[in-house]
Symmetry: C2
Subunit: 784 residues, 2 copies
């Protein structure tokens, strides 16, 4: 039979008891009236003998015609699994005991109705009949004839008769409970009780505590809240002025109300702050940060893609980044629609209210950049056909033209025609309280990945304690920068390259001055130029002709240079520290801009920020030393020139497996490590995140992968490399500063892992800061 008695109610809790069994057990342990009963777990055998013994412990009279003990049998699934066995009530009724029940209830009709009900649920759950087969039998006939009809229906359908032996009844019911649904609870029926009532300890619509007048129920609900550490939905029955408790489970409500209830409970002293923090799902905070679609306003869906960055925004459809900028300058909202985005679209993405792409996954260019900007974004709308020439987009036969209004819902990935009403975000109140409490417990520092002043400001607004990743390449894509940048890339001599860099220097310096002012007193980690240079060159024939004309060079020459710089696998190409090795003058210009900005801010405010200069994509110590030496030389020059001592750190990103393995030697030349887990995931798993949408979905659907490894850190693989790097790095430099700046730094499960390996900080996009603050606090509490 595969089932065995384990506990009578009242014994210690146990996962094997399932959710209902455990809750009953705990309610009993709190001294609340709970009908007597026991739990059968799925692991071992239940025989007639030990069933009988267990029933005897519940009470006398099972099968007694005069004063029959009746039983309820419920499945008690583990965790969130839904049990399909319905509850069987009044087991123990037969042709004799029904008369005893009738006498007790002083209501023969009611007793027989319960008997019929029992026969029917028995037939359905034990014998596999359908409820429909009894549908017409409840009315009409005299009550005892009805029982006969029920019984003969069973015989007709199954050839078996309904068992009059109560021990057989109960054994059959227990055996019929599907094993995968976990434990089974057998509990005495309460005589003379009405129908079960359900009460919420707090109003799920307003969050207000229960104030139903019954002081006895109120104090019990408080007791249950305190015990279960969350608002409860409680099922009970009343019999002769006594309340019998049958069920207690966590109360569900909207994100906003759930948060309020938890904060209230903590303020009322029902919940310790650390337990309150553990009760909040960090992801619900996301819903506080963006406007959401008003459910009442929802209309027909135009297209569906992947929800890449939350928020609900409306705007005019444009297909070119420049058009988004033009609309913005006229104060009008734009939705930028592209097959996919590239670094050239950055300004347009900034200008647009939201971004929609036909291709790409959660970690496509569009998704990553949009999340970084806190911009609503839907990607990979695979049925969407974009026709740049006709300036239209088509989805399932429906067409939207340039200039028409659409609404994006970045939380569901849905796209609607027209303007839909939205609800504004609220960042104060309970949201702020929870984050304040989180900061009391949190061990890891939380920084932001930010490069523009706007991002830096929103990072501070959300509570970032510094910048953990300032990518410098995006600074080069604006119209005034891209020209000298392109001249620099196409330079044939070091002199020509330096001349172009000299033009860029003051602009880059100004970038850092602005960041340092916003981040006054906080650390700012600046990554030196990382992407392959061809990303800055034009791709289309049209743009090549334009640039050639602008630079007064032959289009053939430019075309050849562009082709020459093309790469088969740019992700694994000539980028990161490799650029600085080939063109140290670029790194030197950047270092100069950083140190001059530091000096400028130091003079203005009397206190220098501490820039942390990060050299990306290293695989060993030698290349790091090569670039580090140049950065240090520039630092010394600038300090001499300005007459100030400027503190700074030089460190590296650990984003390639070899860097993790060689962490001991690399740490000799690095004052900090920042784990670039996006690239580390790409290389450790050999998966290009831009191309992964094609198959990762299939993998998770087929159960071959638990999570998308770009969303939740692959702890078994990438995590081991992080652990190796932390151990080896700290061994060779005990005060090595360790952080993470990949997308994973905004993912609670990954943040928990970062706590276990004792990183010093996590750095995520500004709009994930709140989630990270809470998740980091939870991780500290959990791992203490």
């Amino acid at each position: 039979m595969g089932k065995k008695f384990i506990h009578n109610l009242g014994l210690g809790t146990d996962a094997a008891l399932g959710s209902k069994g455990a809750a009953l057990n705990e309610m009993a342990s709190l001294g609340l009236p709970v009908p007597a009963g026991f739990v059968i777990t799925k692991t071992t055998e239940a025989t007639h003998e030990n069933l009988a013994a267990a029933i005897k412990k519940i009470g006398k009279g099972f099968g007694d015609p005069k004063n029959p003990l009746l039983l309820a049998v419920r499945s008690s699934p583990e965790g969130a699994t839904l049990g399909t066995m319905e509850t069987v009530l009044n087991a123990g009724l037969n042709d004799e005991t029904v008369e005893g029940l009738a006498a007790q209830l002083q209501n023969r009709n009611q007793a027989y109705a319960l008997y019929c009900q029992f026969i029917q649920t028995y037939a359905v759950n034990v014998l596999g009949l359908r409820h429909a087969e009894f549908e017409d039998m409840h009315d009409g006939d005299e009550i005892s004839q009805r029982v006969a009809k029920f019984k003969s229906a069973i015989e007709r359908k199954t050839g078996e008769s309904f068992p009059q032996d109560v021990a057989t009844q109960i054994a059959d019911i227990i055996q019929a409970a599907p094993a995968q649904h976990g434990a089974v609870v057998v509990q005495a029926m309460v005589h003379g009780a009405g129908a079960p009532l359900v009460v919420a300890s707090r109003n799920p619509a307003t969050g207000a505590a229960y104030d139903g007048g019954s002081a006895k129920l109120k104090s019990t609900l408080s007791k249950l809240e305190r015990h279960f550490k969350s608002p409860q939905e409680v099922t009970f029955i009343e019999s002769k002025d006594k309340l019998w408790f049958l069920k207690s489970k966590a109360l569900k409500a909207s994100a906003k109300i759930e948060l309020k209830m938890i904060v209230d409970m903590a303020n009322e002293g029902l919940l310790a702050r650390k337990d309150a923090l553990l009760r909040v799902d960090p992801f619900i905070l996301d819903q506080f940060l963006h406007p959401t679609l008003d459910a009442a306003a929802i209309t027909e869906i135009f297209a569906t893609g992947i929800a890449a960055s939350p928020g609900a925004v409306s705007g005019q459809v444009v297909f070119e980044a420049t058009e988004a900028q033009q609309l913005k300058s006229r104060g009008r909202p734009a939705i930028l629609v592209r097959v996919e985005t590239s670094p050239e679209d950055i300004q347009g993405m900034h200008a647009a209210e939201g971004v929609l792409t036909a291709r790409g996954g959660l970690l496509s260019h569009a998704a990553v950049i949009a999340r970084g900007m806190g911009k609503t974004c839907v990607v990979g709308a695979s049925h969407l056909r974009i026709d740049y020439e006709a300036q239209t987009m088509t989805s399932l036969g429906s067409v939207i033209k340039r200039g028409e209004m659409v609404t994006l819902d970045g939380s569901t990935g849905r796209v609607y025609r027209g303007v839909l009403a939205t609800l504004k975000p609220i960042l104060s109140g309970d949201f702020a309280t929870i984050l304040e409490w989180a900061d009391e417990f949190r061990r890891m520092e939380v920084r932001a990945n930010a490069e523009t002043p706007a991002e830096a400001r929103s990072a501070r607004y959300f509570g970032a304690e510094g910048i953990g990743l300032c990518r410098t390449e995006h600074m080069f894509f604006s119209a005034d920068r891209i020209r000298p940048m392109r001249r620099m890339i196409l330079a044939e001599t070091i002199e020509a390259r330096k001349a172009a860099l000299d033009e860029i220097l003051p602009m880059q310096r100004q970038d850092f001055i602005e960041l340092f002012e916003i981040m006054a007193g906080l650390p700012v980690t600046i990554r030196l130029l990382d992407p392959p240079l061809h990303e800055f060159l034009p791709k289309s024939e049209h743009d090549i002709l334009d640039l050639a004309a602008e630079l007064h060079i032959a289009p053939e020459y430019l075309r050849a240079r562009v082709a020459e710089l093309q790469e088969f696998n740019p992700m694994l190409g000539h980028r990161g520290v490799r650029l600085a090795v080939s063109h140290p003058e670029i790194a030197e210009m950047q270092a100069r801009a950083i140190f001059e900005a530091t000096a400028d801010v130091a003079k203005k405010y009397g206190k220098a920020p501490i820039p942390e200069i990060m050299i990306p994509l290293v695989v060993g110590k030698l290349e790091l030393d090569f670039v580090r030496a140049r950065v240090v030389a520039v630092a010394e020059d600038v300090q001499r020139e300005c007459g100030l001592e400027l503190p700074y750190l030089v460190g590296t990103m650990i984003e390639l497996p070899r860097a993790a393995l060689r962490a001991a030697e690399i740490a000799q030349s690095a004052e900090f490590f920042s784990f670039g887990t996006n690239d580390l995931t790409q290389t450790t798993l050999g998966i290009s995140r831009d191309d992964s949408a094609r198959f990762i979905g299939e993998y998770t659907a087929k159960g071959l992968m638990k999570n998308d490894p770009f969303i939740s850190l692959d702890i078994e693989g990438v995590g081991e490399l992080l652990q190796i790097a932390v151990e080896r790095g700290r061994k060779s430099r005990p005060d090595l500063k360790l952080g993470i700046c990949g997308e994973h730094a905004g993912d609670p499960e990954s943040i928990d892992f970062c706590e276990t390996i004792k990183l010093d900080y996590i750095s995520c996009s500004p709009f994930r800061i709140a989630i990270a603050r809470l998740a980091a606090a939870q991780a500290t509490i959990r791992n203490k």
Copy 2:
């Protein structure tokens, strides 16, 4: 002074003694007459006192006017470093001792000439004067006047006088020896000896042993050969019928002669076979495998690139793969010239005698494929401009048109206009002997990476013991395969895909039948389809139109599908096991072809080959299980159908860092691991081998990387992952079969590492088999 006495000659050998010092030391230890002396190493101080004491041990009379001891001072570099200090002879001569020498030599002119020489070399090496400043002083004047002129030249130039104190002389000379050149040897001059003579123990032109008549010298040469374990070039002087030995070093000769001398020495009993094997540089075997350019025929160079695959071949220049095939069909040699090659060029590469590309490095597509085919290849000829439209190539102003003859030298990377004479390879004799001996010692099995019957045959010819990597994708590029392959890729339904696969099945089965017949009795490892599917689709607009017409589909549709399948980083894309997860029917077709071929060959020959089916690019156990289950199901079907039991293995490639880390669980589902170190290097270091030419050269030139990690295994990084995988894999499956099939399997240094981690086999391209056999033997001997 940074120098210190360590050893008088005759004491034990020591690396610090440098090459000359060590050789002298060893000759003395053999009992050969060696002029007395001592060695000063670069590590610690030489004072006047210990210099004097050491000189006293050489003999009496240093500075003695009557019977002066004179000294020679030579630098003794470590290893192959070239010392720039020239040898200083007759130190200890001054105005007095020169008279003593004159009396001894009974030749005043000779004594003064030696004195002048000494003054000059002292002036040049100690005081930094140039030889030219003494050029005109050697003739004319009376001998003693000449000395005065030399001395006054020194005073005029430096303001210092030539030291008469012999202790000062010797101390100055020793201090002047550049520290980086290692040790310094101080040795007594032999009075009355003639000029030093040089003799080779074997004739470097023919390999014949010395037979110069002097039995005494002959036996000494044998003694030295036996001692130094190689043919020697010996420097000695004769004085009063006695031979004094000054120097002995390894004799250099052509590869062919060096091999002959080593084999001869072993056959003569002068060298144990294991020592003979260790003496042979595996790379010289390469020169035996390909025709080489006749040095006499060399003319002006047209272009220079990277020597990617050896051999010297001539043919007509063609710029299209199809043209190479056409020429081949007319029996005429072609040289295929491309900016770079792609999988579509494979058939043309097969047909051509040699391949020349303007782009790419040692591990570009062209280089890897050409080496696999044993085809001469020059890549990355960066000054070469190819104009496909004009059908010309231009290098430094010189133009070659389609159809003109050129000669490629794949050993030097040079390209010549016209046909140059070549020398044929010789695979018997000493070459065969060395390989036979290697096989006596070798522990690891040597297999070949081969997929065509031609490659398989040449693999066997070179001694391969099976196929370690049969890539199946190249089988799909021929004209008759690519059509159903493309139909399969573009199929919209599983049925359409299966129909296309049904067309491919018999062809694929025939491929395997041919391979199994050639490899009868030997293992054959077959890798299931690996590259992303877009590699099989056309890229140019022209080809897209062609294919659309052929398949009766709309060009727009085809264009969209091609664009859809495009990837940003194909190396990290939808390929390997991921293809089999998305389209299990492809893997099933391949498995069926393999098992049916196995059954066919088993029936024909009474004995079944044992196919080893390899699933590429796994990162964990689950995806491997998914595909493995399908392969096993097909195996069972085919065995049932043919009524035979067919033994086979299923294993995986370990080519991604995560696979190495998760080796324990992967080994539960894999009967063998084959290390794909090409891809493992790409991902561990984050370097695309196709794009690496751009910066790896710079890295090695700047000393930031020791070797190109695609040529010699990165032992510190990739090597650690191999070690981890071997340990974890063997722990979970003790009889796990372990091999390597990356390009590194043909590199001696990497092979040595494979021996240290105890791999079972190495698998390289057929033309590297000889090198691998020898290198594996050396590794076994070294690591015993």
